[in-house]
């Protein structure tokens, strides 16, 4: 097997082993409900994490996504409450704004040569602040179209459902995989992660790619915000605090190097599922106090990383320093 796929394979293997262990303890976890929930409940996180994967592959980071998701939700709620425009139009508007927002951050990062960490941190403050300014209340969305959208789902035998948003996440992942590995934009993304200076000398359009990457992340954060607003039928400025860290963790657990240039979009999906599994397991257990919950999540995170390292190490991946 090509050693490039080793981290990915290791991650998938770990997920399957972990799931098997969970089922051994709680047979109920095999139900289609749990699987359906895993997709539905993590849909917004997964979609945002696809954007994060592209950003991290390029050697950057995007801390703004949690705030952008919240902003999108509040924006939609306020818009649908105050005007009578159709949600689809509102969606398009929201996506346009978040994409532009991402592109703006990308432009600042590229043209002012500022570190992504800080630019997107400021972006996070700004997006969350804008959400506050729009409304500090949580606003329900009562538009009938939302109900229609929620009515679309595929019922699995055993009571589980593949919902619209769960399906959308899978579609986004498929599109993400295609973009990453089957387009020039994707190749340029990896190239940036390998080294900006070298990529520039090799003729990669740095400016366009950087801006494109953050715009994509902004777009997907916006999409994730739409999904989140469907998920909760509301907009709330305090929602999804810290989601960026969950997304980063999913990306890294999925085998992508935070230094950029190496990893897979598909890995992120597994990373998301692993995190979802940890949470489901903890809820099924249901005996942990608040603090033990945190400690256990930390320990499981550590165990997964360690296991991944171990698997990769023992299957012998010799890599020259680059």
């Amino acid at each position: 097997m090509n050693p490039r796929y080793l981290p990915l394979t290791a991650t998938v293997a770990i997920f399957l082993i972990a799931y098997a262990v969970c089922i051994a303890q709680y047979p109920n976890m095999l139900s289609t409900r749990v699987i359906g929930n895993l997709l539905t409940d993590n849909a917004f996180l997964g979609i945002a994490a696809v954007g994060m994967t592209f950003v991290i592959l390029s050697g950057g980071i995007d801390l703004s996504i949690g705030a952008v998701i919240a902003f999108t939700g509040v924006f939609l709620a306020v818009l649908l409450q105050a005007t009578s425009i159709h949600p689809l139009v509102a969606f398009a508007l929201a996506l346009a704004i978040t994409t532009a927002f991402g592109a703006l951050m990308g432009a600042i990062i590229h043209h002012l040569e500022m570190p992504p960490f800080i630019v997107t941190l400021a972006g996070m403050f700004l997006a969350r602040g804008m959400a506050f300014v729009l409304s500090i209340d949580s606003i329900p969305i009562k538009h009938p179209f939302y109900a229609t959208l929620k009515g679309f789902y595929y019922k699995l035998p055993g009571g589980g459902r593949i919902t619209l948003i769960g399906g959308l996440m899978l579609v986004v992942f498929a599109a993400g995989i295609l973009i990453a590995h089957r387009t020039r934009f994707g190749a340029n993304d990896y190239a940036l992660g390998g080294g900006t200076a070298t990529a520039r000398l090799m003729g990669v359009p740095i400016a366009g790619t950087t801006i494109g990457i953050y715009a994509l992340s902004g777009f997907l954060a916006g999409l994730s915000g739409i999904v989140f607003s469907l998920y909760t039928s509301a907009g709330y400025s305090l929602a999804t605090v810290g989601v960026e860290l969950d997304a980063i963790a999913a990306v890294v657990i999925g085998g992508t190097l935070l230094t950029g240039g190496s990893g897979f979009v598909a890995g992120t999906l597994v990373g998301i599922l692993i995190q979802g599994l940890i949470q489901t397991y903890i809820t099924f257990d249901g005996s942990l106090s608040s603090w033990w919950t945190k400690i256990l999540i930390g320990l499981l995170l550590f165990a997964f990383i360690l296991l991944q390292k171990g698997l990769i190490h023992f299957t012998g991946r010799r890599r020259r320093y680059a």
Partner: protein, 505 residues
């Protein structure tokens, strides 16, 4: 200069100013169709800078560029590529994290239904590399291959990109004779097709073998452009250095002191998957050369001797005392030094100043609690900048801003500053100009006289022959022959390498 139709590329009055240094001063340069034009000069003369200005990698501060007689102003390498200019930059070894095929076709991947057609891309990549007799897995990451393979890939990419002009900035530095011959065959073929080729190197033999015209730069200024056939070596060197070189290197031979006692003794030293166990004796005051083809395990030998890779078999002793070579730090404590081959990755600390780069190893050996005082560091840096003629405007300049050859000299200075007993040099003269080349060889000899033991790895056999008292020949990651005394000749080495047939591609 008038635009001339026979010139595929011409540049007039190119200026480039860096903060604190003027790298190019009104340089004129022109390239004819179907010629190989050598661009020569000392380290830091401005060759790479000129290339980068021509290809839009740097924004020039003045001057005009014409491609096919038409004003062109490439703002980026991408635009230069679109103009038909393919370039192999010095140091830039492509993107290690992409596959070989992706590196070759980045930005121009074959598409099908709007998507990249990976199968087609890999097929073409294999076909392309076959021309260079390189049969490697093109779907593996580039980082998995040695510097030399990476260099060949970079060349293949640039050649494939160049419709009109091919620029090669020290492409042969990490290639051995076989690869160089192959590269030249390809260059000749391109030349027949009417391409203009700019060729930068410090190997004068290669210049005379392949080039039609020569342009020499010195201190960022144009010294002159001449027909190769009309320019003698002596004159050329004088043009480059601005003075006569006292003696030419390869001429002298035999100044090697017949060394004394065996000082360092390695028995059954090796590591699985890297290099087969070998025995090695090194006397005080001798140079042991290591020769072999690419990938034959020369660098592995060096790394294992220095503890950069831990040996899993064998013993090492000095003067009968067992040595601890389990890590570079341990090796340095035993007064070992190692000047690595890949200076960008293993050598320079890019953002730190020349001074700090020179003082680093010495400081590391003394430990953090005993800092080398600033004045002492300044003195150290100044001494070596002078002794090795490191061209830098200032010892506080970040080393990454130095020209390639001068970086190499600074790394050498780092190790000389630690005054080691046993020094391993992996391709020490790579990318170093004739003047400095002679200096370094003289330096190696004087180090020997002081009783230091050296291991030198080099692809330049003449050079190896010039200073080695013995040469170890490697093949397929094993030490296969040891040449001593009168057998230390270029022919002898080539014969020993060839003895088992060519190892691999």
């Amino acid at each position: 200069m008038q635009p001339d139709n026979s010139h595929v590329l011409s540049a007039t009055g190119i200026d480039k100013i860096f903060p604190g240094a003027r790298a190019l001063n009104r340089v004129d340069f022109s390239l004819r169709r179907g010629e190989v034009h050598a661009l020569l000069g000392e380290n830091g003369a401005g060759k790479s800078t000129l290339v980068k200005c021509l290809t839009g990698a740097y924004r020039r501060d003045g001057g005009r560029i014409l491609v096919d007689g038409v004003d062109a102003d490439p703002q980026s390498t991408l635009e230069a590529q679109n103009l038909g200019i393919g370039t192999v930059y010095q140091e830039v070894n492509l993107l290690p994290n992409l596959t070989v095929a992706e590196n070759l076709f980045l930005g121009r991947q074959p598409k099908r239904f709007g998507l990249v057609n990976a199968r087609e891309m890999n097929r073409r990549a294999r076909a392309l590399l076959a021309e260079y007799e390189l049969d490697i897995d093109v779907t593996a990451e580039l980082a998995a291959y040695s510097v030399a393979v990476q260099q060949v890939v970079a060349i293949a990419r640039a050649v494939d990109l160049s419709g009109k002009v091919l620029i090669l900035d020290e492409p042969t530095a990490s290639l051995d004779a076989h690869e160089v011959a192959m590269l030249f065959r390809i260059v000749r073929r391109l030349k027949e097709r009417g391409l203009g080729i700019i060729f930068i190197t410090h190997f004068l033999e290669q210049v005379y073998e392949i080039s039609d015209r020569i342009t020499v730069l010195r201190n960022g200024q144009l010294v002159g452009t001449r027909e190769t056939a009309e320019l003698s070596r002596r004159e050329l060197i004088a043009m480059m250095l601005g003075r006569e070189l006292v003696q030419e290197v390869a001429a002298e031979h035999g100044a090697k002191s017949e060394a004394g006692e065996v000082r360092f003794r390695f028995r059954g030293f090796g590591r699985k998957g890297h290099i087969q166990p070998f025995d090695l004796d090194v006397r005080a005051g001798e140079v042991v050369g290591i020769a072999g083809l690419l990938g034959s395990g020369r660098t592995e030998t060096a790394e294992i001797l220095f503890g950069a890779e831990r040996a899993d078999s064998g013993t090492a002793e000095a003067d009968g005392r067992a040595l601890d070579l389990t890590s570079p730090r341990a090796a340095i404590r035993e007064k070992f030094g190692f000047c690595p081959e890949d200076r960008k990755v293993d050598g320079i600390i890019g953002d730190l100043s020349v001074r700090e780069n020179i003082a680093l190893a010495l400081q590391a050996r003394r430990g953090w609690a005993r800092p080398i005082s600033r004045s002492e560091q300044d003195r150290l840096a100044d001494d070596y900048i002078k002794a090795l003629d490191i061209r830098t405007s200032d010892r506080e300049k970040p080393i990454k801003l130095l020209s390639g050859g001068n970086q190499q000299k600074a790394i050498l200075a780092r190790w000389l500053a630690t005054n080691p007993d046993f020094l391993i040099l992996d391709e020490p003269t790579r990318g170093i100009d004739v003047g400095a080349h002679a200096e370094i060889i003289r330096l190696i000899e004087s180090l020997c006289e002081k009783g230091m033991s050296l291991i030198v790895i080099s692809s330049e056999l003449e050079e190896l022959v010039a200073y080695s008292s013995r040469v170890i020949v490697l093949r397929d990651r094993a030490h296969v022959a040891e040449l001593t005394g009168g057998k230390v000749t270029t022919e002898g080495i080539v014969e020993a390498i060839a003895a088992g047939g060519r190892a691999d591609a």
